[in-house]
């Protein structure tokens, strides 16, 4: 089990959203760079264990596209989308779609960077096309059959 930092929170909110927040010990210009420069993204935007990231292209302008591909043993998993809004270093809005989507429609991702006392809190909000889609996403992950322990459950419930 990977250690969970108390400042990392993942929640399914409303009908169509999943929201993640986490804080980092760096000014937001740097965090923004790490989220938008391919050579930096490749260092941390990992796939599942054992996967590499051979493709990472970012055309950082409104209407520009980005594309990520992860690979393992000849198997590929790719995704990409279009930037809708870029307010450096505060906010990025983009569409998001997997190459072989198991759900309908695009998702919209909004990332915000808020700096306070030299720390940056990153909030990533994914909004799916509909509630059905969000629930399908939830369903797909559940087939993996991981047991959620009571402790983790209590943690999740406590994180508001």
């Amino acid at each position: 089990m990977i250690e969970t930092r108390p400042d990392f929170v993942v929640t399914a909110t409303g009908d169509r959203e999943i929201v993640m927040t986490r804080s980092f010990a760096a000014p937001r210009e740097l965090v923004f760079e790490a989220f938008t420069k391919p050579e930096l993204l490749k260092r941390w935007l990992l796939g599942p264990p054992g996967w590499t990231m051979p493709v990472c292209e970012v055309d950082l302008r409104v209407g520009g596209r980005y594309r990520y591909v992860w690979e393992k043993d000849g198997e590929e998993m790719g995704m990409g989308g279009v930037f809708r809004e870029i307010v450096a270093p505060e906010r990025i809005v983009n569409t998001e779609q997997f190459d072989n989507p198991w759900y309908e429609g695009e998702a919209t991702g909004t990332v915000t960077f808020v700096e306070e006392n030299g720390r940056t809190t990153v909030s990533q909000r994914l909004t799916y096309a509909s509630k059905d889609v969000r629930d399908k996403i939830l369903e797909s992950g559940m087939e993996r059959g991981v047991e959620a322990s009571y402790d983790r459950l209590a943690q999740l419930l406590a994180s508001d």
């Binding site: 990977i2 999943i18 993640m20 937001r28 210009e29 992950g141 559940m142 419930l157």
Partner: protein
């Protein structure tokens, strides 16, 4: 495993309320009567009963056989299904963010003569 989507909807709807999450967190440490569950809240017992009804309809809790106390207890399965996906997602992002921590530390320790703007 086939997931009942209707139940999943009910689970997330039930979890959307802070009072209900607090009730579930309390029940995670053992069963409790309605009175015991109401105690920490500045809320009437009927109001608490309403929340309990939502949780019960979602299959998240059940009422015990003891006719007098009818203690409520947690039904772990629907919650496990709902949290499982979040766990998988969380673990992937936990790894990514740990790498990002390291990268950001490195970027700050050796600026390599790169100019950095102050906010």
């Amino acid at each position: 495993m086939v997931i009942n989507e209707t139940r999943l909807d009910a689970t997330f709807a039930a979890l959307a309320d802070p009072t209900r999450r607090a009730i579930l967190a309390r029940l995670a440490s053992g069963e409790a009567s309605v009175g015991e569950l109401a105690a920490p809240f500045s809320m009437s017992q009927p109001a608490i009963s309403k929340h309990l009804k939502v949780l019960e309809n979602a299959g998240l809790i059940s009422a015990g056989q003891d006719a007098q106390r009818r203690p409520r207890r947690l039904e772990p399965q629907p919650l496990a299904e709902a949290t499982e996906w979040l766990e998988t997602y969380r673990e992937l992002w936990e790894r990514r963010y740990a790498e990002l921590d390291a990268l950001l530390a490195e970027m700050q320790s050796k600026p390599k003569g790169k100019k950095r703007k102050k906010p």
